[in-house]
Amino acid sequence: MQPEPLPDSLFDAPPLAEQERMVEAILFAVPEPMNEAAISNRLPMGCDAKAALEVLRGRYQGRGVQLVKVGEAWAFRTAPDLGFLLSRETVETRKLSRAAIETLAIIAYHQPVTRAEIEEIRGVSVSRGTVDQLIELDWVKLGRRKMTPGRPVTLVVTPHFLDHFGLESARDLPGIKELREAGLLDNRPMPGSLDEPVEEGDDEDQDEMFDWKEG
């Protein structure tokens, strides 16, 4: 491009320390890891990108940011042990799904209870995800296996569950009768159905369940 010979000084490479600064700035600013040839292209003529990179890598050794080689290219990366500082946890609270809360209620009232029993009570199958979710929330845990054929695992509520719902024990959960008295049970009877006897039965059921639970 330039036919005239340029003064020598233009070809004098800057000192290695300056080359190191240059490589540092380049690798900091470029949007992608850059290989040695590309770095060389950016540097003034006569620079030794390889040597500068090595010095620079040494300088960042043990720092919070490190100069790493990604394939043939170089890039600054956060030191692996500090990655935790860069993840920002945003905690979002959502209401438990209907399936999950019903499953939880059944476990609380009927513990220890197997999945099959939960399904029997809910009348629909219980997805694995639902139980996993309750376990993850530390509201439910696996209890002892039932001494029935197949030895199915049981589910029980955790101390954390009691803590969260402000209960001393699962026995403190109100019975059906109390729920009805508290207006939590839909009181509309089915046309022609005998409401009262059914209710008695339910209450008995509950007592029985607790006995069974402890047997």
Binding site: E117, I121, Q133
Partner: protein
């Protein structure tokens, strides 16, 4: 006017003094800019400028524009009127009764305005001459997009829990027919189940252990399953395949397969 000029020394200024003015208002950003340009022609420190001379130059400029039938924007004319007033204040003897500002005060203010405008222009040029982000210095090119872990946690109140349970129970109330129809566990079913399981009963096992899944919670179903399973047990005892025992009344009923003895 080119956009990239911010050093006013770059501007093509009309020449000084009595030379004919180049009447071209397009080059000026308002009357103050015109005045500043004219004042620079005095080639003295703005603080030592002759405001009177400046006012005369400006008025000459406006007159020239009028003769050329160049329409001047209103603010140029307002400035011209004010400068004519200033000129008269500066030239006429001070009226003792006039409590308005003196010509000197007004002239000083105009000088201040000009000096301030020029100072701002110089500052603007210095500001733009600074190293700028994205031109002279740069941000990290590879933002390590901070990992945004969205933790979702779920919550429920005791009320939710109770309502959920109540809902389930209510559902049962509303399905009496369905429950009744399936609430009978036949002895045939029990016998078949027991035959399959008894082989594993090497040791004594509680009868309840043999109750089928799905028949344990609902009291009616449970009763039915218990009765049928017990009856099936007796059938197997009769066939000599099962031993049965009970320590006392209401104690658990235990059973095991016969050949295990």
């Amino acid at each position: 006017m080119p956009d990239d000029i911010f050093d006013i020394s770059d501007l093509d200024l009309p020449e000084t003094g009595n030379e004919p003015l180049l009447v071209d208002v397009d080059g000026y950003e308002g009357p103050l800019d015109l005045l500043l340009t004219l004042s620079r022609n005095q080639k003295v420190d703005l603080r030592k400028i002759s405001i009177l001379a400046l006012a005369e130059q400006y008025l000459a400029f406006v007159d020239a524009a009028k003769q050329l039938r160049i329409e001047l924007a209103a603010d140029y004319l307002v400035m011209a009127a004010w400068l004519a007033f200033l000129k008269s204040r500066l030239l006429l003897p001070v009226d003792a009764d006039d409590d308005g500002p003196s010509g000197e005060e007004l002239a000083a203010h105009l000088a201040f305005q000009l000096e301030r405008l020029e100072a701002m222009r110089r500052s603007a040029a210095r500001l733009m001459a600074r190293d700028q982000l994205g031109r002279d210095f740069f941000v990290r090119g590879q933002g390590e997009a901070e990992e945004r872990r969205r933790m979702v946690t779920y919550t429920a109140s005791l009320l939710d829990l109770l309502q959920a349970y109540a809902r389930i129970k209510t559902r049962e109330d509303f399905e009496p027919l369905h429950l009744q129809r399936s609430a009978i566990y036949t002895m045939e079913q029990a016998l078949e189940r027991l035959r399959g399981l008894i082989g594993h009963a090497v040791d004594w096992n509680d009868l309840e252990v043999f109750l089928p899944e799905g028949w344990l919670v609902d009291p009616g179903k449970r009763r039915s399953a218990l009765a049928s399973t017990f009856a099936a047990t007796l059938e197997l005892v009769k066939l000599g395949q099962v031993q049965i025992r009970q320590a006392e009344i209401f104690a658990p009923i235990l059973l095991r397969r016969v050949d295990a003895a």
